[in-house]
């Protein structure tokens, strides 16, 4: 799976840096795909997510309680940001409470993630990204320097492994 972690400067603040992921042959990040998919139907919910991201980035920092409980295997920092009415889920990866990597998501129509093919796909995709980033952090190819909220190192993933999204 080939992808790159890109920084979304416009969403960053003094407390949190915001990133997203571009997959091979796609100019849009996963987060932009999420916006494009949901803007026509859920503009108010998207606005609510915007407020939350900006407040975390600038004022409160990342707080686990602002998110839904982790989904996925233990150790994978995949969380879901949701709007006030609970209609939309935006999957994110947190690193050290100072970095957030925004993935995709969608409207929550079913009780569990497993019942919704779209949300399951988006969650699994970000889990794969999370696994790859975590591995590079273990190998110290990607670092989060102390007292910093900026990822450094090799953020381009050129692995030729086929993508195996469940």
């Amino acid at each position: 799976m080939k992808f790159e972690i890109k920084k979304l400067d416009a969403l960053c603040g003094r407390k949190v840096s915001v990133y997203s992921v571009t997959l091979e042959n796609d100019n849009h990040t996963l987060f932009e795909r999420f916006i494009l998919e949901n803007a026509p139907t859920f503009p108010g919910e998207l606005a609510d997510l915007r407020y939350q991201i900006k407040v975390m980035a600038e004022n409160t920092g990342i707080r686990d309680r602002f998110f839904e409980k982790p989904e996925g295997k233990l150790g994978q920092d995949i969380w879901a940001l949701y709007d006030e009415k609970g209609k939309l889920r935006l999957y994110c990866m947190q690193i050290g409470h100072v970095v957030i990597i925004l993935g995709g998501g969608g409207p929550k129509a079913t009780r569990t993630l497993q019942e919704d093919p779209k949300l399951k796909l988006e969650n699994n995709l970000l889990r794969m990204v999370s696994d790859a980033i975590t591995q590079r952090m273990i190998e110290k190819e990607i670092r989060l320097p102390l007292d910093s909220n900026e990822l450094t190192g090799n953020l381009i993933f050129d692995d030729d492994d086929p993508m195996e999204v469940e």
Binding site: E4, A39, D48, R63, E150, G153, L155
Partner: protein, 148 residues
């Protein structure tokens, strides 16, 4: 120099950033900052969600909602949380409008000391006490610093 992520900009992101209103943003900000302040106060007093729920006579799920940053608190609820956690969430002290506090740092050590003198025949006037100086609004201070 360490390699960092490439920056990404787009019209889609710009459009996203223009969604909503300033009023709604301000409300969300208040809710999230109150939640963060309550969470910090709980951590400082080593009080968990369950204990706070008991002390407040609430279900733990209510505390979860408070800490989610999405709860629209009533004044009564904030007053009760203040009492239980000993934290100030409402600023109700009376304070005259326009009274500002300015912090002034005076560097007493200079590698090249310079004597700043007013023009001939004039003198500087400074606030008489440290308290006066701290509490003097900037405009008044400028006025007092002006040539006598």
């Amino acid at each position: 120099m360490e390699q960092t992520a490439r920056s990404h900009h787009s019209q889609v992101l710009d459009d996203f950033l223009s969604l909503g209103t300033e009023e709604e943003f301000a409300r969300t900000k208040s809710r999230m900052m109150l939640a963060a302040k309550i969470q910090d106060a709980m951590a400082a007093k080593n009080i968990g969600k369950k204990e706070l729920a008991e002390r407040m006579g609430q279900q733990p799920s209510v505390i979860t909602k408070w800490l989610s940053g999405k709860h629209n608190f009533t004044t009564d609820t904030l007053t009760d949380i203040q009492r239980v956690l000993g934290v100030r969430l409402l600023a109700l002290e009376e304070k005259p409008v326009g009274q500002n506090v300015y912090h002034i740092t005076i560097n007493l050590i200079s590698p090249q000391p310079q004597q700043i003198l007013p023009p001939e025949g004039r003198t500087y006037s400074l606030p008489s006490t440290k308290t006066d100086m701290i509490r003097t609004p900037k405009k008044n201070l400028e006025r007092q610093l002006a040539y006598a």
